[in-house]
């Protein structure tokens, strides 16, 4: 299951990790499109390295899924009114959480394919069971949190709410758990960055800013 760590894969993972870090570090008002391009490029590099490193049997189905998902995302992003963009982002975060939960369930359904069984091949390894549980729990929490946020009306909230940052962090932790499940360093970096930054940001909004949002919190804590 684990990719053989060749020089090409190591360079690809390093490049993707660097692009993810640059994207998160440089995401400010004016630099946001550049940061988005960096994140997109990092994901493209990571996807290319993953396809290169695995014996992909279902490539046509994967291509159809990529085109379908990309088309859905582009249509959603273009069609919603600008005032509904926060609700869209909340929905997309929930979708990512749901995807991570799917990965955990897939590992549970087919543990042999991912090297999650013990030597006898009877039981799932304890660490793999923990990773699957974290994957499903964090992913499901992010999805449910996004639904609750949409139900309450994310677009009506003033500024970024701690709940939005928290569900983004949960989706990030779910991705990190699935990275450990699938032994993918690029995913671990993306999940670690998203989970850690989102959690710190949510805590700052809750504690440091007295639940008022950063716009009312003055400068750094």
């Amino acid at each position: 299951m684990m990719e053989n760590l060749t020089l090409t894969i190591a360079i690809g993972w390093s490049l993707a990790a660097a692009l993810f870090a640059v994207a998160l570090w440089s995401a400010r008002g004016d630099d946001l499109p550049r940061a988005a391009w960096a994140a997109l490029a990092g994901m493209a590099v990571l996807g290319a390295v993953t396809v290169y490193g695995h014996d992909v049997m279902a490539l046509p189905k994967i291509c159809v899924a990529v085109l379908l998902g990309s088309g859905m995302g582009l249509a959603l992003g273009r069609s919603v009114p600008r005032s509904a963009l926060p609700a869209l982002v909340a929905g997309l975060i929930g979708q990512a959480g749901l995807g991570a939960a799917f990965l955990g369930i897939a590992g549970l359904r087919n543990p042999h394919a991912f090297g999650l069984l013990d030597a006898a091949g009877d039981h799932i390894l304890p660490e793999a069971a923990v990773e699957i549980a974290l994957c499903v729990i964090f992913g499901a929490l992010a999805a449910v949190g996004a639904v609750v946020l949409l139900w309450r009306g994310a677009s009506r909230q003033g500024g970024i709410g701690p709940a939005m940052a928290l569900i983004a962090a949960l989706a990030g932790w779910a991705v990190a758990a699935s990275a450990f499940l699938l032994d993918n360093i690029g995913m671990a970096v993306a999940g670690g960055l998203a989970g850690s930054a989102g959690t710190t940001f949510a805590l700052r909004l809750c504690v440091g800013a007295g639940r008022k949002g950063l716009a009312d919190a003055g400068a750094r804590p």
Binding site: A36, A58, R82, A169, G198
Partner: protein, 90 residues
């Protein structure tokens, strides 16, 4: 391999901690959109699952993860471009 994975993960957590701590007023939406895009790495996990899974059910779940991840990535990218066009929402 697991050690490399752990070191990379902890390094990413450290960078994320610094970024989350240094967010300034008015940068909240920018950071959350990028965090949302990073969460779409589930698409890559979906590729691995769809490529390696032996059962149809697991492969279908992997394909669903790819659809969810790609939709989130492209939607987040468009949202980031539109957020840049004017003042952040509310």
């Amino acid at each position: 391999m697991t050690l490399f994975l752990l070191i990379s993960f902890l390094g990413a957590c450290a960078i994320g901690l610094i970024v989350g701590w240094r967010v300034r007023p008015g940068e909240g939406w920018s950071r959350v959109v990028i965090i949302q895009m990073l969460g779409c790495a589930v698409a890559v996990g979906g590729v691995i699952v769809a490529a390696e899974a032996g059962s149809a059910a697991a492969r279908s779940l992997g394909l669903l993860a790819i659809v969810a991840g790609c939709a989130g990535l492209c939607g987040g990218f468009i949202a980031a471009r539109r957020l840049d066009e004017g003042a952040p929402p509310s």
